[in-house]
C-alpha cells in the first residue's frame, strides 16, 4: 500500500526525487525552492537516499556539476528558481546540446528589478530556447509524479534531452496538500536504473564531451537536437499510459482539457492557475455558459497539433500568460497564435497577462476573462488585476 502524506510542493518534489534514486544531486538553495533541496539533503544525511549530495557554491556550479555527473552516466537532479536559473543559464545549452538527461525542478518566480521573491513564470520563459524540455505542473501530486516520469523521458535513448519541471513558486511550493507517495518497489519497476547512452564517457571509453564543431557540422548537431525534441510527444504519452497502469494516475500527455469539447470560450493556461480556472468553469457551466480550459503541460516541445485540435471548435480563445516578452506580448500567446496559423485555424484570440510578481489571479478575474472572450471586445493584450493605473 502506498502512503498518503500532507506535503508541500517542495516536499512532493523531494519525495519524487528520492523514489527515483538519483546518483548525484548538485544544488544551491534559493527561495522558494529551498525546502525541496533541504529535504533532499536530509534524506541523504539520514541515510534514506544513497546519493552524492553536492552543496555547491552557486547555480552556475550546480549545473556544471550536473553536466559532469551526467556525462559519466549518473542519474542527476538539480533544482533552482528565478535569478538562480538565470545564473546557470550559460550552462543549460551545454547540457541539452551534449544530450545529457538531467532533471531539474524550477520553482517559478519573478525576475528582478524590482526584486521580488513571489511566483510568476518570467524565469522559465527566459530560458525557453535553452534546448530543455519544459513541463508545467498543476499540483503537488503532479509535481511528485512528474519527477519520476521525467527521468524516464529524459533517459530514453530516443530523447536524451534534459527536463525542467516548472512548479509555481509559493502557490505550489509552499502549499501543503494530500499527496500519495508511491512504493519504492513500484517506482523501481517503473523506472529501472539508468542505461548510459553510448556517447557518454567512462574509464574504458575516454571521450571529450561538450566538443566543438565547426561550421561544417554545427548546424547538423542543432537540427538533430531540434528534431529529436518532437519525439517527446509520443514518448511522454506512452510513459503517462504506463504510469497510469502502474500507479492509477495519469495526466493526459502534452495538453489536457476540461469542459473544452463544446466550449465557446476557452482559456489556455500553464501551471497552478489551471485549478482556479476549473472552479470558475464549474460555476459558469452551472449558469449555462459554455466555457472551458485547456492546460499546456509542455511548452517545449510545443504541442501545436494537439493544442489546435482541442481549441479549434471554440469561438474565442484566451491565453493566460504569467510573463511578458517586453515589447511584444505574453510568450505563450505568441506560441498559440503561431500554432493556429500553422494549422490553418482562424480564431479570435486575446492575451490576458496576470499574476506577475505573485499578484493574485482571483476567481473574479478569471470570470472577467471569460466574459471578455464571450463579448469579443477590448484590446488584444490585456492586463488582469494590475492593482494600479498607469
Amino acid at each position: 500500500m502506498s502512503d498518503f502524506a500532507f506535503l508541500s510542493g517542495n516536499e512532493a518534489i523531494a519525495y519524487g526525487v528520492k523514489l527515483s534514486r538519483p546518483h548525484v544531486i548538485a544544488a544551491y538553495p534559493i527561495t522558494p525552492q529551498t525546502k525541496a533541496v533541504e529535504k533532499l539533503s536530509s534524506f541523504v544525511q539520514d541515510g534514506e537516499l544513497d546519493c552524492k549530495y553536492m552543496h555547491v557554491e552557486s547555480e552556475h556550479s550546480a549545473m556544471a556539476c550536473s553536466i559532469g555527473s551526467s556525462s559519466v552516466g549518473a542519474r542527476t537532479f538539480t533544482a533552482t528558481s528565478s535569478q538562480g536559473l538565470l545564473y546557470m543559464s550559460e550552462c543549460l545549452p551545454y547540457a541539452s546540446g551534449a544530450r545529457l538527461p538531467i532533471v531539474m525542478m524550477n520553482a517559478n518566480r519573478s525576475i528582478a528589478t524590482p526584486w521580488n521573491i513571489y511566483g510568476d513564470q518570467m524565469d522559465s520563459m527566459h530560458v525557453i530556447n535553452s534546448g530543455w524540455i519544459q513541463l508545467y505542473v498543476e499540483d503537488a501530486q503532479e509535481a511528485l509524479d512528474m519527477v519520476i516520469q521525467s527521468f524516464k523521458l529524459a533517459e530514453n535513448h530516443n530523447i536524451l534531452t534534459p527536463v525542467m519541471i516548472n512548479v509555481d513558486g509559493f502557490v505550489l511550493t509552499h502549499t501543503y496538500e494530500k499527496v500519495e507517495i508511491p512504493l519504492q518497489e513500484e517506482v523501481d519497476n517503473f523506472l529501472p536504473e539508468i542505461q548510459a547512452s553510448p556517447h557518454l564517457m567512462s574509464d574504458d571509453n575516454k571521450t571529450s564531451m561538450c566538443i566543438s564543431a565547426g561550421n561544417q557540422h554545427y548546424m547538423g548537431f542543432k537540427v538533430k537536437q531540434h528534431r529529436d525534441m518532437f519525439k517527446v510527444f509520443d514518448e511522454l504519452k506512452q510513459i503517462d499510459n504506463d504510469f497510469h497502469k502502474a500507479f492509477g494516475r495519469n495526466y493526459g500527455s502534452a495538453v489536457e482539457g476540461y469542459q473544452f469539447e463544446d466550449a465557446e470560450a476557452l482559456l489556455i493556461t500553464t501551471g497552478s492557475v489551471t485549478g482556479t480556472v476549473r472552479v470558475v468553469v464549474d460555476e459558469m457551466r452551472a449558469e449555462g455558459k459554455k466555457v472551458g480550459v485547456v492546460k499546456l503541460r509542455l511548452l517545449r516541445p510545443f504541442p501545436a497539433g494537439d493544442l489546435v485540435s482541442k481549441i479549434s471548435g471554440a469561438k474565442a480563445v484566451g491565453v493566460l500568460d504569467k510573463n511578458i516578452s517586453f515589447g511584444y506580448e505574453g510568450t505563450v500567446f505568441t506560441n498559440v497564435n503561431s500554432a493556429l496559423f500553422q494549422k490553418g485555424a482562424s480564431l479570435k484570440t486575446i492575451n490576458f497577462i496576470g499574476g506577475l510578481g505573485g499578484k493574485d489571479i482571483t476567481k473574479g478575474n478569471i470570470r472577467q476573462m471569460f466574459q471578455t472572450l464571450q463579448s469579443g471586445e477590448g484590446e488584444t493584450v490585456q492586463y488582469s488585476n494590475m492593482g494600479c493605473t498607469l
Binding site: 500532507f6 498543476e138 505550489l172 509552499h174 502549499t175 494530500k178 489551471t274 482556479t276 476567481k363
Partner: protein, 179 residues
C-alpha cells in the same frame, strides 16, 4: 461545501503549524481533502503572519487567495480589529485568544488560550489550544479524534503529551461556550 479558514498570528506563535495540523487532521485522518498554506513571502519572528486552510469532501483545485472565511482565528489579540468581521461568510465565527471579555458581536468567541498554554506547556504557544477551540465551535471542519491523531503523527514526542492535554482542555472549554 468548502470550508475556508484563516489564522492570524505573529511569527513564532505557531499559526502556520496550527493550519498544518488542521490540514493533516482533515485530509489524512478524516479522509477528506485539505490545503494549508502560509502568507507567502519572508518570515520574521514577531511580524504579523497568516495561515490558511481550505477543507472539502472533494479535491480542491482553487489556488487563489482566500477572501471570505468560515472561521478566522487570532492567536494574538493585538492583531484583531473589527474590520475583519467583513471577511466572514454567513454563519461564520471569529475565535480570539484573549483574557478580555469586551467583545459585543455574537460571532466572536474568546478563549484565554495563552493562559491555558502557560499552565499546561509552560510556554505561551497557543496553536493547539486554538485548534481544540475551533473543533468544538465549528461544524463540518474536522473531527476531534482526527486532531488527536494529527498531533500524534506530526509533533515531536517531547511536546506531544502536553499538547494533547492542551487540545482537550481547549476543546472542553469550547463545548462549555456552546452551552
Amino acid at each position: 461545501m468548502i470550508k475556508e479558514i484563516r489564522w492570524h498570528g505573529r511569527g513564532g506563535q505557531g499559526s502556520f503549524t496550527g493550519a498544518k495540523l488542521l490540514g493533516i487532521a482533515a485530509s489524512i485522518n478524516d479522509g477528506r481533502f485539505a490545503q494549508a498554506f502560509p502568507s507567502f513571502g519572508p518570515e520574521r519572528r514577531g511580524a504579523p503572519v497568516l495561515g490558511f486552510n481550505r477543507i472539502s469532501d472533494t479535491k480542491i483545485t482553487d489556488r487563489s487567495e482566500i477572501e471570505k472565511c468560515d472561521s478566522i482565528i487570532f492567536l494574538d489579540e493585538t492583531l484583531w480589529n473589527e474590520t475583519y468581521l467583513d471577511d466572514l461568510k454567513e454563519n461564520a465565527l471569529v475565535l480570539i485568544n484573549t483574557d478580555k471579555e469586551l467583545f459585543s458581536d455574537s460571532r466572536i468567541k474568546t478563549i484565554n488560550a495563552t493562559g491555558l498554554a502557560i499552565d499546561v506547556l509552560g510556554m505561551p504557544i497557543a496553536n493547539t489550544a486554538m485548534l481544540g477551540f475551533l473543533v468544538a465551535l465549528s461544524e463540518g471542519v474536522v473531527t476531534y479524534g482526527s486532531c488527536v491523531n494529527a498531533l500524534k503523527s506530526a509533533l515531536k514526542p517531547s511536546i506531544l503529551d502536553k499538547n494533547l492535554i492542551l487540545l482537550e482542555k481547549a476543546y472542553q472549554l469550547g463545548k462549555e461556550t456552546l452551552k
